[in-house]
């Protein structure tokens, strides 16, 4: 291998780790088991310590434990990873068992196993600290917070091998993982070994976790497994794309975090864009990586097309606007209905009273109707144009069709149907409308000519001559 600068080496390691954690973590996020990563990371500690103790065990005559003199560091490191992997998987298996055979729910089961295993790990690591030896103690600090900056070439090789193994597994079992994530019941019905699949999936998670632990630490490893997948979910509904995006987000967080904490960005730009009164150089790499991931998550949450919060808010606003416009037309129609075929003027104030709108809202809506050629403004108020009357007729018909349907089909009193129809009229599709017409026509609720607006089945609240409601018009 060519000599890599340290930053480049760390960047390679963290980005690869981020990518593979993102890909494997996507499955956990999809299966609503996001916090299993947290569980694995905590449950790995007792395994690490046990492996260390086992490696350094000596007969009592030699003083029980002493640091291995013969074993090389790499072998010891590998053994500790195997121990961590084992207790992690045992923890996940215990959660599965507890959920299946006791009344404890999954969230509590995860909490119980996580805290108990971690407690045991803390005890074991304290025992190790108390050993009368000085070399290569499993430092708890490193385990909790990680030490990305101290990444060695061997560590990067470990990550590369682990990433290759995980990616190979995911590729080989892609179809199975896909079906199992979205519809475990179907997978069982297909006769697949779901327990083995589940454990394989958890195995890949555990593998990523134990290899990543020395780099980013326990809590932040859980973050690496959750955040990219949760962020990628905003961008797509296809699993393949989600895995790719999740991998990219994970890698991006790794690269960004490494560059920021190594001060590379600062030296490139000549100033530190992220410094809030302080230098960002020499910040701990793991947490910075996570915060980069968080930033990408927030961007996804807000700005992703279709699923993002902003897009959804705009959609909601669009629907609200359409409903308000349709309601305006219907109100105008119903207010002037008694004077048809004339198109009388409706005082603005009455329109405001008719709806629970503010005057400003009414003015905005009227302005829209004006530009669309559906409403004319005049000194005294507003009136429908003939085009506007056509549009309003459609809306009123839908409203009254639904009212008649409720009266005829659901036996609701005529004075109770107005509100229900209000909420549904805007969402009646042409197919439903046709079906309603056919049914109501057959029952004799509709005027025989098609396309005619039926009369309202209940008294209308107000008409245009601003009489107080409820009073009969004086007979001339």
């Amino acid at each position: 291998m060519i000599a890599l600068s340290n930053t480049l080496l760390v960047m390679l390691g963290t980005s690869l780790l981020g990518a593979v954690a993102g890909i494997v973590g996507s499955f956990a996020v999809l299966r609503r088991r996001a916090l299993v990563g947290d569980l694995l990371a905590h449950a790995a500690l007792p395994g690490l310590c046990l492996a260390f103790l086992a490696l350094n065990y000596r007969p009592a005559s030699e003083g029980w434990f002493s640091p291995t003199t013969s074993g090389n560091g790499n072998w010891q490191f590998t053994a500790m990873l195997i121990g961590a992997f084992a207790t992690g998987i045992i923890g996940v298996a215990l959660v599965t068992l507890v959920c299946r055979y006791s009344r404890t729910k999954e969230d509590a089961a995860i909490g119980i196993v996580l805290s108990t295993f971690f407690g045991a790990g803390v005890v074991l690591s304290s025992l190790i600290q108390n050993l009368p030896t000085a070399s290569s103690k499993a430092g708890l600090q490193t385990y909790i917070y990680g030490q990305a900056a101290g990444m060695t070439r061997e560590d990067v090789w470990f990550i590369i091998i682990m990433a290759a193994a995980c990616l190979l597994l995911v590729m080989l079992l892609y179809k199975e993982f896909q079906v199992f994530s979205f519809d475990p019941g179907f997978a069982r019905a297909q006769g697949w070994p779901t327990l083995a699949l589940d454990m394989t999936m958890m195995g890949t998670l555990a593998l990523v976790t134990v290899v990543g632990l020395p780099t980013v630490g326990v809590v932040l490893m859980a973050a690496m497994l959750i955040i990219p997948g949760a962020a990628a979910r905003f961008w797509t509904d296809r699993l393949g794309r989600m895995l790719v995006i999740s991998g990219l987000i994970g890698a991006g967080a790794g690269i960004g975090g490494t560059l920021i904490s190594a001060g590379t960005i600062e030296s490139l730009l000549g100033f530190d864009p992220l410094a809030f009164g302080h230098n960002t150089r020499n910040l701990p790499t793991g947490p910075v990586i996570v915060l980069c991931g968080t930033t990408l998550f927030v961007i996804s949450l807000l700005f992703a097309p279709r699923r993002g919060a902003v897009a959804r808010m705009l959609r909601t606003l669009g629907v609200r606007r359409r409903i308000a416009r349709e309601n305006l037309l219907r109100s105008l129609y119903e207010l002037s209905e008694s004077r048809f075929p004339d198109l009388p003027e409706v005082p603005l104030k009455q329109l405001v009273d008719e709806r629970t709108w503010s005057a400003g809202t009414v003015r905005r809506l009227v302005a829209w109707g004006n530009t669309a050629g559906l409403i004319e403004r005049s000194a005294g108020g507003v009136r429908l144009t003939s085009a506007g009357r056509k549009r309003a007729e459609k809306q009123v018909r839908l409203h009254r069709l639904w009212e008649l349907f409720l009266i005829s089909g659901a036996d609701i009193a005529p004075d109770h149907v107005d509100r229900d129809a209000d909420s549904i009229e805007h969402f009646l599709t042409p197919e439903i409308t046709a079906a309603l017409e056919a049914q109501l026509g057959a029952q004799g609720y509709l005027p025989p000519a098609s396309g005619v607006v039926p009369d309202s089945p209940h008294g209308l609240a107000a008409t245009i001559t601003s009489r107080p409601t409820g009073q009969e018009p004086a007979s001339d």
Binding site: R103, T104, V123, S126, A230, P284, A309
Partner: protein, 434 residues
């Protein structure tokens, strides 16, 4: 009181202090934990215990030292912020609840770690303390209170425990209803959202008060494990609280003893003891334990074997077969094995079977029991043929299974539904009822 305390020797003083503080901490956590477990929000407890870290550091920076009031304020703010952000990401972002929790608390924790690394120098909050807590050093950190030197931990945890107990007693009914049936709570006009935030605020306060003692990561053990253990042992909320508090006390005492034995910090052993309590309850709880379920299943299997033996011997008598089965033959016929042996032995012991000269004989009592069973079996057969239209040669197997679970009341109902309750579909006589 203080004189009595000073007269004790140092080790005992130490033990009393550590166990006392740990007990208060564990009980404060356990009481709230019951609600967390019932409402399936255990992992929010996990999240809060990590997420208050940045709140603490900010409180530190602002106060310049360990100021309890600032710490509580910071924790409360971050606790409510965590809860709010989690809800917002879950609802506005349409992210599954568990992923929302995961994203929020890990991000806040990362922020906390960065703040510690940057501002943690000069304040006595080192990363180790965040992990283990300092319960073993509790007597070294004291504050003056009314002329007495009181451990600082006591000053922070005692009021929080009192507050938890007060809130739980005051809102007993509301908290209970919203824990078991949120929909009902809403229809009764209880504001579930407000209660939820109140609960989370208490959890945040308790977390911070416990933080110094047991460390951020082991708070989760005390929040979840006692409540989950109690849930396995009882169906009443009041009893659940008491049991959870008991588990907290046991963890404190035993954990301390183990920490002395192993010469390690007390927080780890306490979590392990709590986990051990849960494991014991999960296995041996009378109603919900795994072993109890196994025992119940074994008892049912044994009963079925006994009943099969009786029914078999009854049918031999019914067919006027002179030959009697020996013990070996009889057990072979009902599937052999340990269960069959045990079943036969208990029948002999109960005096429902006797060893005759020719082999096993039904006693009068045994015959009555057997007639009862055969009656159930044949009634069921008749019922299946008459009402479900099954063919007569298809009804034996289901009746073989059902006969063990038809009691007198069900028998009466079946008889009432049958046109002929004297004969089964195979033309055999249905034995008369008692």
């Amino acid at each position: 009181m203080t004189e009595w305390f000073s007269s004790l020797n140092v080790q005992v003083q130490d033990a009393v202090l550590v166990i006392g503080i740990a007990t208060l901490t564990n009980v404060a956590c356990a009481l709230l934990g019951c609600y967390l477990v019932l409402r399936r929000m255990s992992l929010l407890g996990d999240a809060l215990s990590h997420a208050v870290l940045p709140g603490l550091i900010v409180a530190f920076i602002l106060a310049g030292s360990m100021n309890i009031v600032y710490m509580f304020a910071g924790a409360l703010a971050v606790g409510l912020l965590t809860t709010f952000l989690t809800q917002a990401v879950h609802r506005q972002g349409n992210v599954p609840a568990d992923a929302a929790i995961g994203v929020v608390f890990t991000s806040l924790f990362a922020l906390g770690v960065i703040l510690i690394k940057r501002y943690g120098q000069g304040v006595d909050l080192d990363p180790d303390c965040v992990l283990y807590g300092q319960i073993d050093l509790v007597e070294f950190y004291t504050v003056s209170l009314g002329g007495f030197e009181v451990p600082r931990a006591l000053v922070s945890i005692a009021p929080v425990l009192a507050l938890n107990v007060a809130v739980i007693l005051l809102l007993w009914k509301e908290l209970k209803i919203s824990a078991f049936d949120p929909a009902l709570a809403t229809t009764m006009g209880i504001n579930a959202d407000r209660l939820f935030y109140l609960l989370m605020a208490l959890v945040a306060l308790t977390t911070v008060a416990s933080f110094e003692q047991v460390g951020s990561i082991l708070v989760i053990a005390m929040l979840i494990v006692p409540g989950a253990t109690a849930q396995l042992l009882t169906d009443r909320l009041s009893r659940m609280m008491l049991i959870a508090a008991g588990v907290g006390v046991v963890s404190a005492v035993l954990g301390y003893v183990l920490s002395l034995a192993w010469n390690v910090s007390a927080a780890g052993p306490m979590a392990v003891v709590a986990g051990g309590c849960y494991a014991a309850a999960a296995l041996a709880s009378p109603r919900y334990g795994i072993l109890s379920a196994l025992v119940r299943n074994a008892q049912t299997s044994l009963r079925i074997v006994r009943e099969d033996l009786l029914a078999m011997l009854y049918r031999l008598e019914e067919l006027h077969i002179e030959r009697r089965l020996g013990p070996r033959e009889a057990t072979q016929a009902v599937g052999a094995g340990v269960l069959a042996e045990l079943g036969l032995r208990s029948l002999l012991r109960r005096g429902e079977l006797a060893r005759g000269e020719r082999g096993l004989e039904l006693t009068e009592r045994g015959r009555r029991r057997a007639a009862e069973l055969v009656r159930s079996h044949r009634l069921w057969e008749a019922y299946l043929v008459e009402h479900l239209g099954l063919a007569a040669d298809h009804v034996h197997d289901p009746a073989e299974r059902m006969e063990h679970f038809i009691d007198a009341r069900l028998q009466e109902q079946i008889v009432a539904d049958l046109s002929n309750a004297q004969q089964d579909p195979h033309g055999r006589e249905i034995p008369a009822g008692p």
